[in-house]
Symmetry: C2
Subunit: 361 residues, 2 copies
């Protein structure tokens, strides 16, 4: 499978138009595009433009509602519970993190939990919304069940990413990671590429090691057993119970606190029901903000400069690769593979758009 | 190395007396004993009574100050920053979580960060303090640097446990886990037992796989390089960068937010400077508390009942093993090995105590 790079501005224009064709209004389309393409700019192909078709299918199947009724269920000076009314996750997510940021600025902290939503793209987008406002940002989401509990063979938790972002120099600190070893999106990319999965990522329907992306995707979608292993692996000796614990924590902070669906009920009975959580913290409640930021930056720099393992040239801080990828891709374009390009071509034809007007090498 | 089990009440009496002999007042001694022995009751030998001698050494060396000046540095309706004045960690920790609980009851959330403290025992003790009050409790601590960043060979982060506890039935949910693959305490237990470490836990001074507990303890104490690997292993493909990210998050929430020492400065220059973080959350701000608890318990039960992998009989929820160990050990005694017993005997002789009066099989 071959990759070519395409101009960011062209892709952005196309996504904005396509989302409007899907039925979103102008502002919504811009917001969804912004979340989607940030994933590509960060080099997280699995959560980028390759999901365009999936989003369209979600609208067609009724999982995602256009013009959703987003309701505030409960509110306090530090918290909000939102029923997203089956909105696309990006619209619910941006609204929710905006509210968390406002609460944090007024009360020191804002925690917003959301139920009845859909896939919201990369969790890191929302954590960074807070970081850009000079706050510590956290976001988590559950998803359809894909992660198997330690000693189990049935997926009971989502990929359940946790994203955390905090101002730092030269790059903002940005963690964005699933609590499973890998995300479903990454398995999809391996499947599109026809690549074998590394052992230690997934289990087959009996709970044994598995290397077929196609099989595990089929089994997960059809609830045939097996799935992705939690961070730390399938056994306790390598810490698999820890990844499993973090996955449960994400279910607690998203589905349980919002009164929504846990992963094992997400995407069943014709609704998505995905739940998210957004936290913004004004760390000024703990001390001088500039001093906190500069102490943090200094510590991260000490780690960068610390001694490297044999054969390694560089120690990365979380967010660094993403920010470097961002700069590179804005300049040199976003890589897309044949399959994704083919899917985009089909969407363009469907909406009478000339792909070559937007997809520019 | 052989283990025998000893009566809990006897050990408790002995610890209370010994901590008073160390110079703590009656209430302090009871609190420290309570934290220490809960580790043993939970089956976490590494953080239990085997640390008695270490604590004594910390007082003698001046790391731990008796009658510390614990100062409130900054306070808001939802937060406190505490300078623990080199208190033993348990005293600082219990005081801090008590304040977080009070803030949570008044404001919905309480976040207390502590600098200039010492080893505080198991993080889970403090998370459970909140859980027992019907709140969601979180606690984290840093420690001397023992965890190596991905692609590095120098320890730059502590074992950095995260504990989370939440009311549930039949057992409270309780995560308590280092963000390294294992804790230093566990390496110490392997060393006392003269057992080889599993490959994938630690690195030698060059950054290669290591199986000698003695070597890695020596190297860590003498800053000779190497250390413990983050959760997820030493490479990115198995998710090592994720454990590394969680370890940095703990440094952020403990050392950085409290204005204290990051792991690479903890236990240098003759002070400990350990930093902790305590969060209590009244989840009543999100909905009916009983409904939230019952939804959570139901979800955890669904996981317990889900299909087991081949050869596995049971899926555990975090906290279950600990609660079962607790019941067993209250009834059948706390197992101690020869080395720990020998150390306790020496302490007893030093303080003119008759060990047999307290250490009862």
């Amino acid at each position: 499978m071959s990759y070519k790079s395409y101009n960011y501005e062209g892709l952005k224009k196309l996504c904005n138009i396509v989302f409007e064709k899907f039925g979103f209004n102008h502002e919504e389309s811009e917001n969804i595009t912004d979340v989607l393409l940030l994933a590509d700019l960060f080099g997280i192909e699995s959560h980028g433009i390759q999901r365009l078709v999936l989003y369209y299918k979600s609208i067609k199947s009724g999982l995602v509602k256009l013009n959703p009724k987003i309701k505030i269920v409960k509110e306090t000076p530090i918290s909000v519970v939102i029923d997203a009314g089956q909105a696309i996750g990006q619209i619910a997510g941006i609204k929710a993190m905006d509210m968390a940021i406002k609460k944090a600025k007024n009360s020191g902290i804002g925690m917003v939990v959301v139920n009845n939503s859909n896939h919201y793209g990369i969790a890191g987008y929302y954590a960074r919304m807070a970081e850009k406002e000079g706050l510590l940002g956290i976001s988590m989401t559950n998803s359809a069940a894909i992660t198997v509990p330690t000693f189990g063979k049935e997926a009971m938790m989502g990929s359940n990413p946790i994203a955390i972002s905090m101002p730092a120099k030269p790059y903002p600190f940005l963690i964005d990671m699933s609590t499973s070893v890998v995300t479903r999106g990454k398995i999809e990319v391996y499947n599109k590429r026809n690549d074998k999965l590394p052992i230690g990522w997934t289990l087959d329907s009996e709970g044994n090691d598995n290397s077929s992306a196609k099989d595990v995707l089929y089994n997960m979608s059809n609830k045939k057993g097996g799935g992705i292993v939690p961070l730390g692996g399938s056994e306790e000796i390598s810490g698999g119970h820890k990844g499993y614990g973090f996955a449960l924590t994400v279910e607690l902070f998203t589905a349980i606190l919002s009164g929504g669906l846990t992963a094992n009920y997400v995407h069943t009975n014709g609704v998505s029901g995905t739940c998210h959580s957004f936290i913004a913290l004004d760390y000024g409640i703990f001390g001088d903000k500039k001093a906190i930021e500069s102490n943090f930056s200094e510590y991260l720099n000490e780690i960068r400069k610390s001694e490297k393992a044999k054969g390694k040239q560089r120690i990365y801080i979380h967010g660094e690769k993403e920010m470097e990828a961002y700069e590179d891709k804005i300049k040199n374009g976003i890589p897309m593979n044949d399959n994704t390009l083919k899917e985009i071509d089909e969407i363009c034809k469907y909406f009478d758009l000339k792909m070559d007007d937007y997809i520019i090498q």
